[in-house]
Amino acid sequence: MSCGTAAEIQNAQGESVLMTKKPKYDRSNVCVKCKENTGNIVIRHVVYCKSCFDPFVKHRFKKGLEPFINISGQKKAVLKPWGNLTIGFSGGLGSTVLLDLITRCYYSSEEVDEKKGNNPRNDGIWKKVTVCYVEVSEVYSKMPGRTAEVRQFIQDSYPTFEFVPVRLSNAFDKRWWERISGGPLTKSDFAMRLDPDLAFKLLDDSSSTPLESLQAYFRSLPTQTAVHSSIQTLIRVLLLHIARSKNSSHLLLGTSLTSLAISLISGISQGGGYNIREEAQEDWTPSLTSGDGKERAVRLVRPLRDVGVKECGTYAWWRGLKVLGKAKWPGGRQSIGGLTKEFILGLEKGYPSTVSTITRTCAKLVSKDELVGICSICQRPVQGGLDTWKSQISIRSLAEVTPARLAQDPPSNSLISLLCYSCQGTLTSRSSKTISTAESEVMVTLPVWTQAKLVDRERMKGEIQDFLIDGGNE
């Protein structure tokens, strides 16, 4: 028997009676805030009227953003970020609502303190705002590009914000990288083979264009889940690099409570449990291990993480916001992300509070393993003791499970030690249906930031080469 739905049940006498439907709200249909107006919307069993709904959303948004504006230790009454602001815009509902709220709360005369006049806190907290859109259509040959449409929308609706379009192929574009980060790369490309060792080498012939490299990379990925997960990773890292190049202290994304719950569950099911805290919020510096401490971290915040998709949709409708819509990626429904989305949306419809329970529970999780570096692809923490742990959980043939084999380090030309568990799984977990062995033999060009890491590593190796003791002479 299901809860809260009308259903035929039998009473003690065996007669069929109709079970009454339980209302979706707790007490009466009067707004819990003003306690006067009849409610217009139910948010996780609580009723709000239209007038109280707007301040409710703004309050939730500010609560999800303002505690993270100052670097820790600073007084919270004064909001003083050290840099500019970059907003990731997908065209979707969440980022549309985010742009509107940022404008209303910090860049308009609407927020007036009734007692003190115009609130100085809201006089443009960040000096400069950049809106960045990442074009993903290059991955799919038949998908039309939307950069022009998004550019027009931003220019018309938010003329004071700078619009910066980025293409997903920029992740493989050396000229873009050198412009954005200033870090030199080798003339040839570093490429990897998507085998269990993830062997890499410097290619002799690097004549492929960034677009060709991008398409080859995605063609070689073993599953649809890996394709979608990699798109999301590349978008996030591109946005972080753009934020850094714009001297931004904060990168904001329009991830709603519902989307965050989907990302969390989907991330865990793809082996990203160690990075669960970063899924909600992260402080990112280009290289944590070799950083000299001078580089300031870009803080990625998701201010709508307490605002569900229902609130976002209703807010956008009542505010009359134009939602361009996010590009739909082919094959999305069968990926882990797509299936998780379907599950969470269904859960939210029947049991809306459970979705916020997911995010609140994940926020409490702490990993016991120490951090040993930053993943060269997704730029998130890598846990220590990964090899030992993997050897304990993997199902292997008896020949493989010898002490000698387990004690072996991965080959020196392997990317394994530079990647987190989730990225290793994304690149190597094969489905029996989706890829042929021949495709896994192809060398694919690495994203530019991964190449930069390898260049850095090779340079460091060269510097300390003379001081290394040969293992054979010990």
Binding site: K21, K24, N40, S259, T314
Partner: protein, 104 residues
Amino acid sequence: MTATKSVRVEFGGGLELLFSNQKSHKVEIPNKTFDDKPTDMNYLILWLKKNLLREREELFLDNNTVRPGILVLINDTDWELEGEGDYIVENNDEIVFISTLHGG
């Protein structure tokens, strides 16, 4: 008493693409169902499927009601406050369906 009632139906959040790319529709639906019950939201949803929906039914319907992720407002009020599918549709009601499935 007329045999039909007039209802304004609006689609938002990309849902209009399934309904001839038209956001607002003025429709006439019967006052009573075939078993002589007053027409409710459950009836209207199936009526829309039969008469206005042009493509990809699965993006609008799931188990004979709107699929998860679609918000319904009846005269600017969340349909969860009005009894959802059991709400008896009145003459000149304004019903809004908003898709939130566009992502973040």
